[in-house]
Symmetry: C2
């Protein structure tokens, strides 16, 4: 059992939202780099062996590729978002790579938001919380995405560790996929389900509010493809961080991606906008030459940053 | 690594529901043993080193403990249900243990239902499907639990591999926890959300129906603590397998656990009833002596089986 010990927020304790927003303000944009290591488009520069999921060489190739990506983005973005599925696909060696990538990101002063969309009850939910949100976790990330379907009580263990250790928790609310309306948009007594989920998190958002910026480490996942819903959700929770996926490859435009953001001291702010495939696999980076790959990656990242800088200005 | 020999997809291809129900009929009960390796209650017989999550000896202890459990239950139950969170907690070594446990279960002719409650969109959902439901998956299980919150389209990759390789997919519908009503019970135009999710799966249930028994490999997670809701859900999908957690430790009684079952050739049937802590950690099994541990485990399992046999008779 996780001990429900009183939280002592010391002056030096990190707070996810405060740290994230401070870095976003300094950089001038909210871009988050999604680390979705699809195997097929990994460039020749990094490919080894069969590149099938269970070949040990595949895990080495993914590790080398992602560490090189971290080098490209290190001073340019605040946060990276590894997608758990692509690591799980490689079996235990994939989790070993994920652990190394988390360390590698932290070494480069990048925050890590693990996109795992976990959700379970009671002691199992505690298991997930301990796996990712404690200082001695096997995969010690700064924030985690979670799924609310099983009920508010199922979020408690992650919220508890977030409060205690200054981590972030992003709850799925309105996702970016075409079928997200199937259940999330259903009217539940006058409000759609996604809005009901949002308002049920009001007290948690307050508990996780940062002393520095007033932003909460209780985050919400709100797809870039649903800007009108983003505005409604922002009205419900004015200080919850948004994780906005679906930018780029899925069709979300810069202005839509930041529609749920609000005016801050340096521009529009209120979360991060994530792009994965467009940043990891630009066409020009499909090469065996280091310098060509580096140039193509830098160009893709700089272009995405410039678009977002314009949108939040 | 030992290569797990996959079932070749042919005319003799296995079908999850047909295989499961055939074994349940033969055994006379629907008990599923949940493999939730909490660290604190692992008996002295298996404990090694610090038993903290990141100590390599902990993973070895968990492996040895669970393989011994598999030996105790091998000829007594049809299926085991490892809970992913407890393996993830141990980092990559935990996933290595999970892989060995899946192989160990298959070697003992046990089906494996991985309780991971995954759910994501597009290519990420494909990643999860490939990680668990393909013959060449890193963790090649027979069935997987999934979360429907993100929408029906997000289930497609798992359903596709289930259809192609004879696997099972269990969708969360009405979970066993106290807070499951927060969103699942919300009225959505005349029916609660859990019922809307259920009926939206009608065509998938039909696609995955087994030629042998008429039961579908599209399964539903329906907590033992909500027997009345189980009856409603059964009326919506008469041939979907139920995974009924919450039996035992969470307070669900045998008669409640099988309330959504229907009369079959050998008794009530329609899914499996899962117990974890009560079976893995009976008080009398907290010992350093092999024979005492074995006797206590056998007694706990036999008692649970007897209770369920009586309930389905």
């Amino acid at each position: 059992m996780i001990q429900h010990q009183a939280v002592s927020p010391s002056a030096t304790q990190t707070h996810f939202a405060d740290t994230l927003i401070a870095r976003v303000r300094m950089l001038g944009h909210p871009l988050c780099v999604g680390l979705d290591p699809h195997l097929d488009p990994i460039p020749p520069l990094f490919r080894r062996g069969s590149m099938t999921p269970r070949d040990p060489q595949t895990a080495s190739a993914v590790e080398e590729f992602l560490l090189a990506v971290l080098d490209r983005v290190a001073d340019k973005v605040a946060v990276v978002k590894p997608q758990s599925a692509f690591f799980e696909q490689l079996g235990w060696r994939g989790i070993q790579v994920l652990e190394k990538i988390v360390i590698g990101a932290h070494d480069r002063r990048l925050l890590v938001l693990l996109d795992a969309k976990r959700g379970d009850i009671g002691s199992t939910a505690e298991g997930y919380a301990r796996a990712y949100l404690a200082p001695d976790s096997a995969v010690p990330v700064d924030a985690l995405t979670v799924n609310p379907y099983m009920g508010r009580d199922t979020l408690d263990p992650c919220i508890h560790l977030a409060e205690r250790h200054g981590r972030g928790v992003f709850v799925l609310v309105k996702t970016s996929n075409p079928g997200s309306g199937d259940y999330q948009d259903r009217d539940t007594g006058g409000v759609p389900l996604y809005e009901r989920v949002t308002t049920s998190l009001t007290d948690i958002a307050a508990r996780l509010t940062g002393p520095g910026t007033g932003w909460s480490s209780l985050g919400l996942v709100v797809g870039a493809t649903y800007p009108e819903q983003a505005v409604r959700i922002r009205a419900c929770l004015p200080r919850a961080l948004f994780l906005v996926p679906g930018y780029g490859a899925q069709g979300g435009r810069p202005a839509d991606a930041v529609r749920g953001f609000v005016r801050g001291p340096t521009g529009l702010e209120g979360g991060v906008v994530s792009s994965s495939r467009g940043l990891l696999f630009p066409r020009e980076a499909d090469t065996a030459h280091t310098s060509v790959w580096e140039k193509a990656m830098d160009a893709a990242i700089n272009a995405a940053i410039a678009d977002l800088c314009a949108a939040v200005a």
